[in-house]
């Protein structure tokens, strides 16, 4: 029995990291109907910048984490200014926005390769003290709990922010209908820039937590989570924050259970993409999505 429990914990843990990555991804899609494919590169750079702060600037992780998250947010502003704002008024904006974000992702990855080198590196051993507990035959580490808590706080914080704060409501208004939002006096351009700031900050934070737990950061670490992030936001419903959180946990669990049941993980990714494929065809609005997505 405790193996199943252990797998459950593994699934919830990795699912919360997927969820944290996905809410930034889906936030931008919700507002602009465009996929920001540079998001995975921000995930990578967030982790590497935090590592640099801890190693070279000798900051404690509890200072480096918020600072690197902030820097990732600023990177988000750059992404918006360079890749999305200039294209907003073009007829094929969803298409060209996709391409410009791919271009930025390539540039960011080559910058990471150039600055931080190709080697896989990790946070110094004593960055964070890790206690390992054996509870009813199931092992949980303090780091796991801290990460799940931080992820949960960020997700809850974002949900509260969108529902109750003025800026949050403005973001939802722009997501609903940009022209009407403009009529109501919302400064749409700065709200969109602000959305990129939050989205990239969350993406960077997910990268730092991922690097911290798995002890492996490299310029191409964003690649494997990019496709899974895509599957999570489609599963959860494009543009829906609760969908991304629940989708992330569900996706993490499905990955872990596929391995547990089939005993081998070569089918793991195949299952993930087949599920994604099926959802797109049968229920493209996903679990919680509400956008009119399929027919014209």
């Amino acid at each position: 029995m405790n193996i199943f429990l252990q797998q459950l914990i593994n699934g919830v843990f990795i699912g919360s990291v997927y969820g944290l990555f996905a809410i930034g991804y889906t936030l931008v899609f919700g507002v602009l109907d465009i996929l920001n494919l540079a998001h995975a590169a921000v995930f990578t750079l967030g982790g590497l910048v935090a590592l640099w702060l801890v190693q070279n600037a000798a900051l404690s992780i509890w200072l480096a984490f918020p600072l690197a998250t902030l820097l990732s947010g600023i990177l988000g502003l750059v992404i918006n200014a360079v890749a999305f704002a200039p294209l907003r008024h073009r007829p094929d904006t969803y298409f060209s926005g996709l391409i410009s974000s791919i271009a930025l992702a390539i540039i960011f990855e080559s910058a990471a390769l150039g600055i931080f080198g190709a080697r896989t590196v990790r946070f110094p051993i004593n960055t964070i003290t890790v206690h390992i507990w054996q509870v009813a035959g199931v092992t949980i580490t303090s780091l796991q709990i801290e990460i799940v808590l931080i992820a949960a706080c960020l997700m809850a914080g974002l949900t509260w922010f969108l529902r109750h704060s003025r800026a949050g409501k403005a973001i939802r208004a722009v997501a609903e209908n940009e022209r009407t939002a403009r009529l109501l006096g919302i400064h749409v351009d700065s709200i969109i820039a602000f959305t990129f700031f939050i989205s990239s900050a969350l993406g960077g934070a997910a990268g730092i937590l991922f690097g911290l737990y798995f002890g492996a950061l490299s310029p191409d670490m964003g690649r494997s989570i990019e496709l899974k992030g895509l599957a999570v936001i489609v599963l959860g419903g494009m543009g829906s924050i609760p969908g991304a959180i629940i989708g992330g946990i569900a996706f993490g669990l499905s990955e872990v259970l596929t391995v547990a049941i089939s005993g081998t993980s070569n089918l793991r990714d195949a299952v993930a993409f087949t599920v994604l494929f099926a959802i797109l065809l049968l229920r493209p609005s996903g679990l919680f999505g509400r956008k009119q997505i399929r027919e014209t």
Binding site: S100, A103, I106, I107, A231, R294
Partner: protein, 285 residues
């Protein structure tokens, strides 16, 4: 040194590069066809994989003649495209892209786990049958076909669907049928290119058909320009030769080349929306 020697010297060094330009141009056109009907598909790299594996298996295990293997590969990719097309082509825009991307990843994972496709090491040794003239004859024929298609009823229907699918329906265009046709023609050309490439490199590995390969085809189209069929060919030729050009200028191997690639794409999408081909095409924009 007489001209002949200079040419053989140039071809000896850059022969394989020229072949890759030809293959990548064919792959770029395969995506151009689908884009010309307004369908953003990221599955053409996977169709190239299907074509490559089909032809490779036929020539390696059943030593089927090369030309027959090419035709079989083209038809196989087309058949898979028709089956995949009907469910997938009801999706719009970025959702179609994600669905075809998921299909591409499933193909890649299957190729890794199946025995007949040679698993992770890839299918090898595939007899080296592809010659340069074959690639460029195919490219010329496909190019001619594209130019003529543009002026036929099919071409006008693709263009109408690309501009506005609803209006196209109201004009009597059976959009489902024509979208599937664009998707299938693209898949067949990709299958042909994949089969030729497999017989050029002795080997075909699953890694060549994943997400980044599909995105690369999209980049050829965007940089080249998707308004006219030889736009993507221009994009494919430039970006395939870029590493050699950069080496020639003395840009050291490593991240800088990758950065230059990304930078060119960004400049094109920001300042040259209709791609390089719009620089010297006479159409007033």
């Amino acid at each position: 040194m007489d001209l002949h020697h200079i040419f053989t010297q140039f071809y000896a060094v850059y022969g394989s590069l020229i072949n890759f330009i030809g293959i990548n141009s064919l792959l770029a056109i395969s995506l151009y066809v689908t884009l010309s009907a307004g369908q953003l598909s990221l599955g053409n790299a996977a169709f190239a994989g299907i074509g490559g594996y089909t032809a490779g298996i036929l020539t390696m295990y059943l030593n089927v003649p090369y030309m027959v293997a090419l035709c079989a590969a083209t038809l196989m990719s087309g058949a898979v495209a028709v089956v995949l097309g009907f469910p997938v082509l009801r999706l719009r825009g970025v959702f179609l892209a994600i669905a075809t991307l998921a299909f591409g990843e499933v193909v890649r994972i299957l190729a890794i786990n199946l025995q007949i496709t040679g698993g992770a090491e890839g299918l090898t040794p595939i007899p080296n049958k592809t010659q340069a003239w074959m690639i460029f004859t195919a490219l010329a024929l496909v190019g001619y076909f594209m130019a003529v298609l543009r002026r036929s009823r099919i071409g006008w229907s693709f263009a109408s669907i690309r501009e506005d699918e609803t209006a196209a329906k109201a004009m009597g265009i059976n959009t489902t049928w024509y979208k599937t046709l664009a998707f299938t023609i693209g898949a067949m050309i990709a299958g042909l290119a994949g089969a030729m490439s497999a017989h050029l490199n002795y080997i075909i590995t699953p890694g060549e058909f994943g997400f980044s390969a599909a995105v690369q085809l999209l980049i050829y189209n965007i940089v080249g320009g998707t308004r006219i069929w030889y736009g993507p060919v221009l994009g494919a030729a430039l970006l395939t030769a870029l590493p050699e050009i950069l080496r020639g200028i003395g840009v050291s191997a490593g991240p800088v080349r990758m950065g230059v690639n990304g930078f060119i794409l960004l400049m094109v999408i920001l300042f040259l929306p209709n791609g390089l081909v719009s620089l010297f095409s006479r159409r007033k924009d």
